[in-house]
Symmetry: D2
Subunit: 345 residues, 4 copies
């Protein structure tokens, strides 16, 4: 059994990790870190866990965490700075859900996060845990920068076209819609039920940090520097991201051709489901699961591909992908504990 | 492995059965019956199952079903009439999700369903599959009448008080609120998103068939005939039933005493969670799980207990309880494949 | 034109008052009090008002308010204590949306609110502004205690039976479901979208303050002291209260007879719509309007009436009724500015 | 008083027309056409109208409609074909909510609708009723092609940039999200509450008919032929469209400059509200009102403007704009009956 710690267990990403790990046949949850609920059972904080998991939440205790094989860190920005290097020093593998260890280039991080990086050496070593693109590096990593929700959805949606060389690299637009769990459990008027239901809006246009993460990966795939428009939106549902991606094609192609390209690119990927021509993905199809569903239409009038990519932001967009990374790091089948179909209802 | 057939697999109860069974370690799904989607893969009808389960849906084929150990029947009323006796004849255990095999007394059935019962002999043999109350009979049954959603929630909520003899048996009120999955997948203007969201209503006041099912079980528990008011309501959520139950007490009792009574009554039940004094259940705590959560308050001014009972109508109120029954019938641990914590989010 | 001030204009009851008054042909909004948004235009706080109403919000300024004919007070408990007596002293009519001036008997207030009343003299003078029951007193009042949302819905739903003498006065149960605007705009984890959507729960069982308000009015109607069970529930919609009321009948009656009793009782009331036999109200039918819709079924098996009463909690349950009171106090047709049909969609 | 007929009164656009007209001070509703509810009062079909409007629905009766000054037609495609020419012949002004009379060029209609136009002469005469762009022609029109919901939102969002000559006319992307009322009241599994809530999806990519309507108007504004990507999405709310529009700029501009351009362009428009720099519109701000709210950000990295435009699809996107057109055609102030602030809650 892999002994696991979840630091920041009572936020939405954290509790989804706990939910997934509690169903994982090869994991025992040994430590749940929570500043706010120190001393409480996790089942007192999230009452759905009563009779299922009665582990206590504790303030961070490195000696306790050290008994674990892996720590998932879903910590507030300040906290993770000092904790992660210490965990690595103590020989624990770390899968970090923050943005801190997702970058190849410390300058990109510093530009988009507006501050100096506190562990540039570790950043260099860390692996960007988008499993479908970096599987081999993940297997050997000590420290994973687990990708963002918008980014996983958007990068996978665009990857086949950019890797193929068929895409023009200018004028790529990613218009993404997210459910409200993406904003976390912190209070805010914008997330009050009465303000949020029956409401949709765009936010952080041209400035959202995930832009830089998407650009980094798409640039690597394309072999040239890519800059995109990324617009996040908040829509009135709990789970789910849907990214609509517009990519001009260098030459004329049919929908059939591009669907074939996508099916081929992802043919060995369990967690990516490319829709048949004429079908489009829906967030309901992926909710509660680790799948990414992708549909493609070519607008032949405009020589432009429109790709729709969807996932559950707190599963494949956070906790599920973190567990997929763990599976890879510990030599398990990538699907272990993750191969369920989702809720639908 | 238990070979299972689901007849009526593409309705909401059916697909929830498929979802639960697809995660069950001791079951293989061998036959999915669906009139409407004959020839289609289940993953074409419910696209969340792509890459997970690719069984074909078929029209009913008794010879195929006969290869199974158990059939779950979630059929339209007419169809189940002839199918179930035939399945029993062929030696297959049947767990029926309709109302047809839930009654001790054929007359009660005929009064509330307004028609003659087509298999009164089988009705006599069938067992009412409310596991917590009829566990021993379930173990030996060939045919289970799987309880209704409102009824499971309401009966378990009232059981400890009625079994204890502390309750007055007049003036019992069950005011129940249900999510929309309870109405099934059939189209109807009342279930159109725009008519249903931001809307609540009562329906079938004093005439809902579940009334008779609740009365049957409460009468047995109390040892005398009980008649109740049962009012179902539709509220704008997918999953969840919350029953608020009003029961007068013969003598003065405190909340503490009655909570203790409930905790004691259910002390060996994994799937019933009695809340501590001062806490109340919420549908979110049980969504996606097989748990029933129950909270109790005594209104000392009025010498009246107010019990709040909640479950997921398509899990413990339908598919989950059906699997719990199967586990019992096949000698498995009752919790097998059902011990997860639910979604919460 | 009636010059109106709204104190506490940026809470949900306050802004609904502003919305209704901004459509009222005989009112000019002269003062909007808001501690939190002092100096901001109301259209900066609620952006739906841009181009429609550009009045500034201000901290309370009694000299400014004094220029008005009427002040609606939707203030936090502490603030209203000193403000209301001062407004009355200065000759301004006051319609108070808090619970402070709704009681005939100061002792009942003190028992349920757990503190001494700060203006017992004013309480004596104040009129309980449930227009349908106290129209004549409202006309001459200087100070209105505007009824609560649950209470308006529940009292009107029970009134005809209690006034008629046909009802047993024991065992009256009011099971009420409310949308989330009822909880106001203050932040709280329970009102976070992700915690609130897809969730229902009961709260404050046997202790909610509105119990005492309902009991006061029903006791007056019945001519004897009445105690009821009142259970509030939170359901995942913005607007709407639905009260399901259980009342035993002294003698046998049919649904038809009791429907007729209700139609007769409310025959002159514009804002009360009694449903025909066989029909039941829905919150969607009243959302955005000042109507109360009431349906009745008699359960002849149990000699019990089940009444369903519904209204929009922030219109007839708060702001709309406040304006109805204002209309009466200023000699206008009660319907002025309030006779619209609601949104439905 | 303007005597008005609404044909197709019981669909969602129709009933919103009825709602708006019932509050309009210069209109009397004389005829409500409904095939499905012939003989029923409108208040029996939409019970929110009880006590407010008791007009009967009837099958189409041209002699009755002829007594009116104006007919709003929200008819199924087949029906409107013969009715509208006949109404025009009889001298009634017609505001048609279908797509039939929105085109300058019959060929564009025939290409996108896949059939011959049945009244090409009338099409030539008809005026495209986007009031902000065609106010003068509307005033004199006998027949208005009332714009689509997506189109009004998208055209107004892009108009200032295209009219200014600052925009590149290639690579314009309109990514639009719509509430479910846009799909109408007809039944369909996709609009079942349980399928629709907690779900988002794109549909009709590159083929939605509104594409051609947007292209027609943007081409006129730009003075050259424009082709756009238009992607509609369904999101889980009732009302509201949010269009996110991507337009490359020929030269470098700041957000401030483009906001100023927008404010200037719409400076005389009551129903268009351009947000200050740094603010973005939300569907909640326009729900229940005739306003269009528009926000602009320039992504200086990419020399691209991102415009967010939002309206209530059944008000400014259908019924409200129809009434605005009527006001213009009958010489009333355009705002009459439409100047309310919306619901917000």
């Amino acid at each position: 059994m892999i002994k696991a710690a979840v630091l920041g267990a009572t936020g939405y990403a954290g509790i989804e990790l706990v939910r997934i790990l509690s169903n994982h046949p090869e994991v025992s949850i040994e430590f749940l870190g929570s500043q706010s609920f120190d001393g409480k059972k996790i089942s007192e904080v999230y009452k759905n866990f009563e009779h299922v998991l009665d582990v206590n939440c504790s303030e961070l205790n490195l000696d306790e965490v050290q008994k674990c094989d892996v720590a998932f860190t879903a910590l507030p920005h300040g906290a993770s700075k000092t904790v992660i290097p210490e965990l690595i020093n103590r020989g624990i593998k770390v899968i970090d859900l923050s943005g801190d260890f997702r970058y190849d280039d410390v300058k990109v991080y510093e530009e988009w996060y507006g501050e100096e990086h506190s562990s540039p050496e570790l950043l260099k070593e860390s692996v960007y845990g988008l499993c479908e693109l970096h599987r081999d590096e993940v297997k050997d990593a000590r420290l994973i920068g687990n990708p963002g929700c918008y980014t996983t959805c958007s990068i996978l949606g665009a990857a086949p076209l950019l890797a193929s060389g068929l895409a023009e690299t200018k004028n790529i637009i990613v218009d993404a819609k997210s459910g409200v769990t993406g904003a976390g459990r912190g209070l805010g008027l914008a997330y009050h039920f009465c303000e949020c239901t029956e409401n949709s809006k765009a936010y952080k246009i041209a400035t959202h940090r995930h832009t830089s993460e998407i650009e980094q990966e798409l640039s690597k795939l394309a072999g040239e520097e890519i800059m995109i428009s990324f617009t996040p939106h908040l829509i009135p549902q709990k789970r789910g991201i849907l990214s609509t991606i517009y990519i001009n094609l260098k030459e004329k192609h049919t929908t059939e051709e591009i669907v074939r390209l996508y099916k081929d690119y992802f043919k060995d990927e369990f967690f990516v489901r490319v829709k048949d021509m004429g079908e489009l993905p829906e967030t309901k199809h992926v909710a509660g699961s680790n799948f990414v569903d992708i549909g493609v239409v070519v607008d032949e009038r405009l020589q432009r591909a429109v790709v729709v990519s969807t996932l559950d932001n707190i599963v494949k967009g956070a906790a599920g992908q973190a567990v997929q990374n763990m599976n890879l790091m510990f030599g398990l089948d990538e699907k272990t504990g993750l191969a369920n179909a989702g809720f639908y209802l």
